[in-house]
């Protein structure tokens, strides 16, 4: 199996996802199956082929790098689960 339980736990940690034991078992199997399936790409010869990251055939325009002043703090904070004055509030980090 490509992805063992420890690998699943490691990538879950990297993804900031908390998984219970049942989920770890299930996902280890599912992720291994998916990775086995995508590995058929190894059949394809990609020597001298560039990776494609932008499919656009048109020239993408560049905007002028100009400063723009906006006062959006009220909008930016409008959806905060918890806020105090002009700040987002999170659990205490420093004791």
């Amino acid at each position: 199996m490509k992805i063992d339980k420890n690998t699943t736990i490691k990538i879950a940690k990297l993804s900031r996802l908390k998984l219970d034991n049942k989920e770890i078992d299930e996902l280890s199997i599912e992720l291994s199956t998916i990775l086995d399936w995508v590995e058929q790409l190894n059949e394809v010869d990609t020597n001298n082929i560039e990776p494609l990251s932008n499919v656009s055939s048109a020239e993408l325009p560049l905007r002028k790098d100009l400063e723009e002043s906006q006062n959006n703090s009220e909008n930016v904070l409008s959806n905060a689960p918890e806020k105090l004055e002009n700040y987002f509030v999170v659990p205490k980090v420093v004791e």
Binding site: E39, S56, P81
Partner: protein, 473 residues
């Protein structure tokens, strides 16, 4: 009187045969009668009446004046909540309007509600939504999926709950549900419509598009949502033609490519017969038929299921419970708050894709998976480039099957992924595609034909669909 088209409704309003209030009341009452379909996540009558009032006061007379359009709940809307079908955004009220919905509002549309979708647009059945599944209006005895991820929009147009709807398509999320629900769905060229304000899934693939009941309406709507936007660096600055005025069903001199690799073993006879019949219909219209080869077709799905989750894992990192959306109540530290918020806020398929994406981008695997997939993506894109030197457009089935029952394929991710086998290659190449209803199964379920053409030649596929529609009527 049945009202089901934009181009007719525009005339009815101009000739004062119906008011925009009456037009919208017609659809409001239909939405209320069809609540069981669960096509909408957000529907607020008061809000609609306010939009009508301010439109009546504005004295504008723009092209979509008073037209009720449903919006996939992936587009940020200032006056309606936006959830992406996820618990993690269940309390999100965007402080800004997406480019596409802003265009529709400027043209006078009424945004009639926000439609259901697979969570973060990840799915082919609209069953992964936090707000329950949508039912395909074309279901017979058993409830069928509407397809996905834009299943709510496809169902809303199919049940005539609005005159058109927006969708987004990352690997088939417009064309596949259009096919399942018996409506038209178009995904334009990557870059034609701005992604500004569309909740990001896989940024190199995501593209906005349209569902409608007929080709004329599709052509009208797609023009209005297209256009350059400085807020999206991949938005392309080209002149958008008036697709509707230019519609032309003459196929003489056109060559149609039939890709041999799309003849896949295990696809039902009903699908293959529909495809063959469509080819004959095109031939009758004067088009030349040519077999073409897209040799890397079979690698499109594996490429997609590396690139899309990789980009998703990066895009979805922003949901941390700090700035917007849901936050877990059970935290004791900052790290735990992140982990619990994301674990409680995301559904199973989204978690699966975040994990796959994180794995293929992680140190030691990046080259082997992500870069490899991007290289094969280049080969797939080159296949289409070569093909369009030999033909004007390509015709294939939209989906490998008709709509399936709700609950099927849930436990097997790969069998669900295979729904997108005919739509994903075009997404990877960034080319435009349309699905148009053509034929039925023996159980009277709709089937869809997919038409693909080269970058920024939306007119070509709209013309071909227009011809097909005229024959069908």
């Amino acid at each position: 009187m049945e009202i089901s088209s934009i181009h007719n409704s525009i005339d009815l309003i101009k000739e004062k045969k119906i008011s925009i209030l009456e037009l919208n009341q017609y659809f409001i009452s239909k939405i209320k009668k069809n609540k069981n379909l669960n096509a909408f996540i957000h529907f607020d009558e008061e809000n609609i009446y306010q939009q009508i009032k301010s439109l009546e006061n504005s004295k504008t007379n723009n092209r979509l004046y008073g037209m009720p359009i449903a919006i996939k709940d992936l587009f940020c809307t200032r006056n309606m909540p936006t959830t992406a079908g996820s618990k993690i955004l269940s309390k999100f009220n965007p402080p800004y309007e997406s480019f596409v919905t802003n265009q529709l509002i400027n043209q006078g549309s009424i945004l009639i509600g926000k439609t259901n979708l697979d969570e973060f647009a990840m799915g082919s059945s609209t069953t992964t939504s936090f707000f329950g599944n949508t039912i395909n209006p074309k279901s017979n005895n058993i409830s069928l999926v509407p397809g996905g991820s834009s299943g709510g929009s496809a169902a809303a147009v199919s049940a005539n709950l609005c005159l058109g709807a927006t969708g987004t398509d990352t690997g088939g999320s417009i064309r596949q549900p259009a096919s399942f629900c018996g409506v038209i769905g178009i995904k334009p060229t990557y870059g034609l419509c701005s992604r500004w304000g569309i909740i990001a899934f896989a940024s190199s693939l995501d593209q906005a598009g349209i569902f409608a009941n007929n080709v004329k309406d599709t052509a009208i709507l797609i023009k209005e949502i297209a256009g350059y936007d400085k807020n999206d660096s991949t938005s392309v600055n080209i002149k958008i033609p008036d697709y509707y005025k230019n519609l032309n069903k003459d196929l003489n001199g056109k060559t149609i490519g039939i890709p041999i690799e799309y003849k896949i073993p295990g696809i039902s006879d009903e699908i293959n017969n529909m495809w063959e019949k469509a080819i004959k219909v095109f031939e009758k219209g004067g088009a030349k038929i040519k077999e073409i080869s897209l040799p890397h077709t079979k690698y499109a799905l594996p490429v997609y299921y590396i690139i899309a989750p990789a980009e998703a894992s990066s895009n979805l990192a922003r949901y941390d419970g700090v700035r917007y959306g849901f936050r877990s109540k059970n935290d004791s530290s900052l790290d735990e708050m992140y982990e619990l918020t994301r674990s409680e806020g995301f559904g199973k398929e989204v978690k699966r894709r975040i994990l796959i994406g994180t794995y293929v981008l992680s140190a030691g695997y990046y080259e082997a998976y992500y870069i490899k997939a991007q290289k094969v993506r280049n080969l797939i894109s080159k296949d289409f480039k070569n093909a369009f030197e030999q033909c004007d457009f390509i015709v294939t089935p939209s989906t490998p099957s008709s709509a399936f029952p709700i609950g099927e394929k849930e436990d097997d991710p790969i069998s669900m992924y295979i729904n997108d086998i005919f739509t994903v290659p075009a997404s990877l190449a960034g080319i435009p595609g349309i699905s148009i209803p053509f034929g039925k199964t023996k159980d009277n379920l709709p089937l869809g034909l997919q038409i693909l053409s080269n970058h920024f030649t939306e007119q070509t596929i709209l013309d071909a669909a227009y011809y097909l529609e005229s024959i069908h009527e």
